[in-house]
Point group: C2
Chain length 215, copies 2
């Protein structure tokens, strides 16, 4: 089953829910804090909600309360973010894919923490992407990957999250690469573009951020 | 001399130039690609411009051409971003501080590359900050630092850019810390808040991102 997780970031940065629903018509929708409110407001069934909903107004909380059937309110933990608690639950449901909305825009510390969250051992092995209006971000550990060209993004950038990413090979992109070592400050692997309808990438060491984007 | 560098990111994420000019009345303004156009459009003297200005319309390029006295157009290099070329020039001018605008919003690969750029040996020793409407980001190497509370941001987050940051001590903040080791996925040092009008932080190993932010 596919999961859409809507976190508490600004809705101005999220793709339209109707468009996401078209792509994932049978997905389960999970809300994190204000994200739960946005799901309900859009008339989409909310499977599960996480957070203490402190950031919601009384009116917004009332709207959310009308949809209590499948809602569990989890208390805030000191050492885990609400998104972390939500993802922990989602990966236990054996998802085929997880798309996180509302994890970008606004506070940059939140964005960086959300990216780092995906590197957690329990999450990095799942197909989890962070998506907003202009970007789709995934975090990968060493291995070989096939990336389909969705036609929605012009650029593909490969950015080391560790000091070094080793043995990086890119195929099917405009600028191919063969067994290269990339350091954090390199600009070599930024703004690549699709050449085929599928791209392949592989690497042997490090953690790699793969960002599809458009202007 | 203080320097303001305006990069090519969306203007919607930049603080108002008039407000920045009030804070840094004597600063030199440097433009990177579309950023140069925004400086000129705001009626601010453009000291130097970098980029090939491919992203500008003919009309916009005409506006920029009216201000050629202090402008040098640098060709695009394959292995350096325009912002990298601009920063390289700025740090050679012995700046007392550098504030980068237009490095956030829009493409997340650009933002990540801009953050990683600040970790370059030549840049990390200078006082360089990336600023947008909600955030001020700096990247630091091991040492002891004093951070004044500008009153403009509620939160201060300390996020490891390396796998580990060691010996992190925080003082003058709501949640102090003494000689802690922080890993990338930890949420312990997120959303700290000021307690005094100055905060102190120090660490012994790794690279640390310090993000002041507000909702």
């Amino acid at each position: 089953m596919e999961y859409i997780v809507v976190a508490g970031g600004p809705i101005s940065h999220m793709p339209r829910f109707t468009e996401v629903k078209k792509r994932y018509p049978n997905a389960n929708w999970v809300g994190v804090d204000r994200g739960a409110y946005h799901i309900v407001e859009a008339g989409i069934e909310l499977l599960q909600a996480f957070g203490d909903f402190d950031s919601l107004s009384e009116d917004e909380r009332d709207v959310l309360s009308l949809h209590t059937v499948k809602r569990d309110v989890y208390p805030r933990e000191k050492d885990r973010t609400d998104l972390d608690i939500a993802l922990n639950w989602v990966v236990q449901q054996n998802p085929t894919s997880v798309t996180i909305l509302g994890a970008t825009g606004g506070r940059l510390d939140h964005f960086m923490v959300n990216i780092h969250l995906l590197t957690k051992h329990d999450y990095v092995k799942h197909q989890i992407v962070i998506e907003d209006v202009n970007n789709r971000v995934r975090v990968e550990q060493p291995g070989t990957y096939c990336l389909p060209n969705s036609g929605r993004y012009r650029y593909v950038s490969f950015i080391p999250l560790t000091d070094v990413v080793s043995g990086l090979t890119l195929d099917g992109f405009y600028y191919p690469l063969n067994d290269e070592q990339i350091i954090r400050t390199s600009s070599l692997t930024i703004s690549n573009e699709w050449k085929e309808d599928k791209g392949f990438f592989s690497f042997t060491d490090g953690i790699l951020t793969v960002i599809e984007s458009r202007d």
